[in-house]
């Protein structure tokens, strides 16, 4: 129960921080997500061989990020992403995931 409450508080905290950050800088989410574009394509529209992130629900991206973080996704499921995500806060990741979720998906993308 206590864990749950802490988790909820973290969640609310992250979302409040997210809203505040976006209010201060309308391009913050885009600028953070742009670091991902190098491999995952501009606005998450990937070329073949990398995951397209455009149009994926925020919750789905955050779940996968969480699995990279926890080590649940590793080995063949996560080569460098488990190392890379540790450079970002949950609030930053929530902004990035939100940005990709709002991009138009490419038809037929994986």
């Amino acid at each position: 129960m206590r864990l749950f409450v802490t988790g909820l508080a973290l969640c609310v905290g992250a979302h409040a921080a997210l809203a505040q950050a976006q209010a201060q800088d309308a391009n913050l989410a885009r600028n953070l997500a742009a670091a991902c574009f190098s491999c995952h394509g501009t606005d998450g529209h990937a070329q073949s061989g990398m995951a397209s992130l455009a149009g994926r629900p925020q919750a789905e991206i955050m779940r996968i990020i969480g699995e990279f973080r926890s080590g649940a996704r590793s080995g063949e499921q996560g080569t460098l992403m488990p190392q890379l995500v540790k450079g970002y806060t949950d609030a930053q990741m929530a902004l990035i995931a939100d940005y990709f979720s709002r991009q138009k998906p490419v038809q037929g993308a994986p």
Binding site: L32, S48, Q83
Partner: protein, 424 residues
Amino acid sequence: MQTRRDFLKAGSAAGALAAASYAAPARAQSVGRVVVVGGGYGGATAARYLRLWSEGRIEVTLVEREPAFVSCPLSALVVGGSKRIEDITVGYEGLARLGVKVIRGEATEVDAEKKTVVLQSGQKLPYDRLVLSPGIDFIPGEVAGLDDPKAFDTVPHAWHAGPQTVLLRRQLEAMKDGGVYVITIPLAPYRCSPAPYERVCQVAWYFQKRKPKSKIIVLDANEEIQAEKALFQAVWNGPYKGMIEYRPSNDVKEVDVATRTTVTDLGDKQQADVLNVIPPQRAGAIAGKAGVISVNQRWCQVDWLTLESVVRPGIHVLGDSAFPASVMPKSGHMANQHAKTAAAAIIELMSGRAPNPAPMMSNTCYSFVDDKRVIHVTSTHAYDAAEKTMKAVPGSGGTSATASELEGRYGFAWARNIWADMLG
């Protein structure tokens, strides 16, 4: 010139659809002019994102001396022979379609007072802000015998991808079995720290298949392998065991081009059948002309919020020419990240707003140890407001556990994606 071939074609369907949404915006109100010098990983990315993110409100001119982009990443595969130069060449048409004015030429002067770039042709390009992404040039006088550029027709550096890469490949093909390939590595920092060791793997892969009696000698001015040491050692002592002689702290100061002989600072001589000298490097020459080289007469110190020179306001410096923050590599991927931070900041500044106060950058380098297997190194860098620099985030980043074909496939996918991200 559309020369992405074969393994790049696979991504073209999704690419074409994505490209459709990035057509040139119709006649937007201009907020100013930016000239970008250098169409590599930094400059091409900056040109593209200035157009995309300003929605066409910034007029962008890109000055590039070559007719098409040739990638340094993956060029080791051309040296090894599993890829051709066409496979790592991409044209600038995608940028032109976005409204970037692409000029083939050489920028020779910058008048920072008048805010004008002068080209070798005499053409003058006025700018409101200037982006310099000229990569590296070799420091004259550091290696005796190499000051005449013609020396590199015999002793290739192949540290600019293109004809030099092809020349090195041809020399390796022409070499007799039982010959000696010597590669020299300068003191760090130099462009792309794992790249010389990746090249050694590629030459070893080729020799193993075609010229098994041949030998590789690595003359490294540094005390040890500069990146992914344990991983490279595992490959050199594994599949390539007995083929590579690594000599640390061997700083080559002189080359006799006619006999392909190197001389170190201690006077040790080594003759080669194919000699590949990578000379010490500094920011590209135009950075010197623009007066933005500010560290050790080699590199350009920048404000990491904007990539703007700390000595010449209005001039932004990207990529290998920038004096790197602590543990920040000089890589194509890093230049692409510099460029996006700079493009975002330039648009904010030209629109009368403040740039993002907390930029983040990541790096990924894939090194091919043969034609299929890859090792990676990755890092994440966050802006530190107190020290006004980028710092690697503690606990983040790392390397592969071992070389794998899975990461080889990611390596090729990385190339397809970043080339599309920078060139459209």
